[in-house]
Structures are given as C-alpha cells and as structure tokens.
Symmetry: C2
Subunit: 164 residues, 2 copies
DNA sequence: GTTATTGCAAACCATTTGCAAGTGT
DNA sequence: ACACTTGCAAATGGTTTGCAATAAC
C-alpha cells in the first residue's frame, strides 16, 4: 500500500487560493475563479496557450491572456501549480496540490509525458543532500527515451499473413 | 573506486565536432573552432550571454552572437553539449562529452549548481523504465533547496564577543 | 568557382508591463 | 470612494532568420 497514491485534500484548490489571496490583500475575482476551476478540472499538464484556448471556448466570460499569465503566477506562488518542463519554448504546468509527488518519463519521439512515483528516489536524495550539506525542499526528475508505442517497431497491418 | 569519475576520451571535442560536421557536409570554420575551444576550456556551466562576453574579450577574431547560437545548436546535435536547466530565462549548457553522468543540486537562494553522482539512481531508473516499457536513454534530475552557504543563518561578525 | 558561413538587422514569440477603464467591497 | 483588477497595446528579451558579403575547399 502506497500512501503517496492518495492525498487528503482538506481544502479545495479554489479555497486554498482564496486564502492565499486574502493573506496578500487580493481578491478572488470571477476571472481568477474561472481560471482556477479550469486548471483543476483535470490533472493534465498544460501550457498557457492551451489554457487560453479552452477558456475562449467557454462563453461565460472572456478572460484576457494577461490575466491568465498573472493568475498562473499567483497559483505558482500559492503552491497550487508548478512548472514541470518546457515544450517548444513554452512553459508546461502541473498541479502541485492535492496530487502526489511524482516524476516523468518523457518520450523523445512523441513527446508524451508519463508520470511515475518511486519512494526510493526521495530517500536516496536525502543521503546525497546530507553529504553536501544541502537543505532539499523538492526535486524534479525527467527520464528521456522512447515510450512503449514509439519503441515498438512499426507493425505490419496483417502479421498473420506471414504464416501463409 | 568509481569508474564514473574518469572517462576515457578517445577524441578531443574539436575532433569529434569536426567529424560530425564532415558527415553533414559542413565546415570547421575559425569561428566554430574558437567557440568549441572556449566552451571546452573548462567544465563550468554557462549561458549564451556569458559565452559571448568571454569571446568578445579574446581579441583574436570577433564572433557574432548569431554564430554562437548557431554553433551551440550544432554542438548539441553533435552530442557535445546539452541544456542543463534555465537561469533567469536563459538556457544553461554543460558538457555532454568527456564528462561523467551526474545530476544537480540547485540553490534557490544564490542559484549555484552543485554536481553530484549517484550510481543507485540509474539502477533505480532502469527498474522504473522496465515497469513502464520505456526505453530510457538519459535523464535529468534537479534537486532544489538551499546550499550550505545559504542555509547557514547569517553570521555575526565576531561570535567570540558572546563569550565576554 | 561553387557552396557553406558569417554578421547584421529585422523578425519572432512567449511573457511582462504601463495605464486607463472597470469592478469588488 | 477606495484599492485592486482587468484588457489592451506596447515593451521586453532571448533566440531565430533572411540576406548580401565573405570565407572555405
């Protein structure tokens, strides 16, 4: 049983964000709500451009690109989001709240991101940091290579024909 | 004894680069030589701006910023360099040839990079990749936190005075 | 001589910012 | 009323690119 696979979320992302804003004398506006809801509607990684596109489709209320940038920064500060990597010179974000620590397998061919968790990694890092007198408070690991699909040699349409 | 700490370099970086260029019908120009020599004169991490500055000081021959960018891309392609991380929105590079695999401790306060090697990490990753049918061919790990210097509380000038 | 390469200036493009108009309390 | 936010358009800043002049072979 792996306690990392489930995380108790006492407060919802929006609530946590609202609290963060309050402490800074800022307001939870409609724009900010729309953005947070959209961002936390699923666990996918995204970049700003994708987020802006999705928001454009929702007719409820238009949100400008600037506000998206501004709000994403706030969400990072609040510890709700973090940058994972870059994709074609765009920053990629993922949830940093209500979601277990994990790392990524990145396919060089199709660009897909696969998450994995490994408890041993963190323990290992603790040792390394102790050795270097380093006070760790997070890490990021990216493993490059070919995913299952892309490392399979291209399939013939009808392999059974070989047998005829 | 750790065999990773020494790597036999059969051919020098310039030679390897020249070979790479030849296979692509390209030329090892004076500009390209100057850049490769500068880049491999030490093992420090660097960004393009730093490299350009250093090259400007060497009076031998002026190399334009464009050429630096173009050559660095080629060195990446040739497997001599790789991007390590970003620092204030600039790409940071390091040697990817004639230098053992390693990872980085990154100080959030002063931005310093410390290299470390850990054999167990790679073994661990092999297991993870096996599980996911992933064909690994490299990884990058960044550990964030505070380095020795920055995690030490600010020192008083004359600690001995306490004893008076 | 032919083809690759350079330096320059302009283009690119994701992100940031100044500011006047608008919104929340 | 007041302070915070928004959308817009312009600015920023690292990186890329078109092109005429230049160097390599």
């Amino acid at each position: 049983m792996n306690e990392l696979s489930t995380v108790n979320v006492a407060v919802s992302p929006v609530e946590k964000f609202e609290e963060f804003l309050r402490t800074k004398g800022m307001r939870l506006t409609q724009e900010r709500q729309l953005i947070v809801n959209e961002v936390f509607s699923d666990h996918e990684h995204f970049d700003i451009d994708q987020l802006v596109s999705v928001l454009e489709q929702r007719k409820e209320r238009r949100v400008s690109r600037s506000s998206v940038y501004r709000t994403i920064s706030l969400l990072e500060e609040a510890g709700l989001l973090r940058k994972v990597a870059r994709n074609q010179s765009r920053d990629l974000y993922e949830h940093d709240y209500g979601y277990p620590q994990h790392d990524h397998l990145i396919c060089k061919s199709c660009g897909s991101l696969t998450e994995f968790t490994n408890d041993t990694v963190s323990k290992l890092l603790e040792d390394v940091c102790a050795e270097h007198d380093f006070r760790m408070d997070g890490h990021r690991m990216e493993v490059y290579g070919l995913c299952q699909k892309c490392s399979r040699p291209p399939q013939r349409r009808h392999p059974m024909l070989d047998r005829i």
